[in-house]
């Protein structure tokens, strides 16, 4: 079972790596946000899996909290990106 958990951890790390590449390269700002979002959800899962891997699953509070923070972060980024976009347009016109 530990082997399966380890495999899952590695898979999640790979997914996070790919999301990170997208976040670094992403042509538009929305690509980056999407990658950040995906990164966040995978972090939540990774913490849960890691907790089981090390045999101390008490730390799920942390992953609940990450899920929340991830959501708030994405919403905040979206709101502010919209505003910055408006400002840019206002400056252009």
């Amino acid at each position: 079972m530990t082997a399966m958990l380890a495999v899952a951890t590695i898979a999640l790390l790979a997914v996070m790596l790919m999301a990170l590449i997208r976040a670094l390269s992403g042509p538009t700002v929305f690509d980056r946000i999407l990658a950040v979002n995906m990164f966040g959800t995978k972090t939540v899962l990774l913490i849960a899996v890691y907790g089981f891997l090390t045999g101390r699953p008490d730390f799920l509070d942390l992953s609940i909290f990450y899920a929340l923070i991830n959501f708030i972060g994405v919403i905040a980024v979206l709101k502010f990106v919209e505003r910055v976009g408006e400002n840019d347009e206002a400056e252009k016109s």
Binding site: T43, L62, I75
Partner: protein
Amino acid sequence: MLSMTAIAVVRLRSLFGVVMLFGIYSLLSALIFVVLDAIDVAFTEAAVGAGVSTVFMLATLVSTGREEKPSRYSPLLPLGVVVVTGAALVWGTLDMPHFGDPGNPVHVHVADRYVQVSPTEVGIPNMVTSVLASYRGYDTMGEVIVIFTALVGVLSLLTIRGHVTVPRHRTTGPDSRPYPVLQVMAMLLIPFILVFALYVQFHGDFGPGGGFQAGVIFASAIILYALTFGLNDAVALVPVWLIRVLAAAGVLIYGGTGVVSMLRGANYLDYDVLAHDPVHGQHYGILIIELGVGITVATVMIGIFFAFVSRAEGSR
């Protein structure tokens, strides 16, 4: 852990969207803290780094513009300085204690006492909390005061405008419809977040958590409210005077606890005398000062957020 840190470094080469990547970076470092057993620290780092400070930076970017102009100086000189300093530091680490070695100097001084004695002496399972609130209570009080001072500083630099006059066309124009799905979701989530904050606040003795984390979580609920329903509604919900009063009240609760223990004949912030037997006293003391910390942190974060956003809105 190692590979991920390396990725975090690669991230730094990107020039655009730095702040967003900073959010990822914080999540990564929080993960590293989890791997290194520092659950409480990971909690705080995620809350503060990925949540609150990213939001602050975004709010700043709104009012300052997000394009970075290329520097007129050659990057070679700083690069050289950095490489030389780094090399010197690497050379210095050769004498450092090895990673994870139980015989490290840090582990042989007071830490042993904390690990061995605190579960019985203070009576709570989370050693981080007991060290934070009991053994090193002075330090923590200093930190709370620093945070309070930061709020005072921010408020003296940027005023919160209670009623931001958002231009009409922005609120009614076709391009700024509110997100109905988002609002419903926020309404579902905010009570949950608040309850979770209270859980973290009062469960901090037994699991990861405590005043600092709970304060930030509480603040993040209000921030979510402000983001989805607009700043004016949020300021109506948590008025500015309330922020000022509560931020000061949190510090006073902390300091007052110390005064009470002095009045009962012990040293400042010595909780043993707060109840009939010392372990209970420690329990009460930690609970009360964590509450003080939580109130201060939450209100300070909300206050700073309001100040930033009202400045960002006002700058348009």
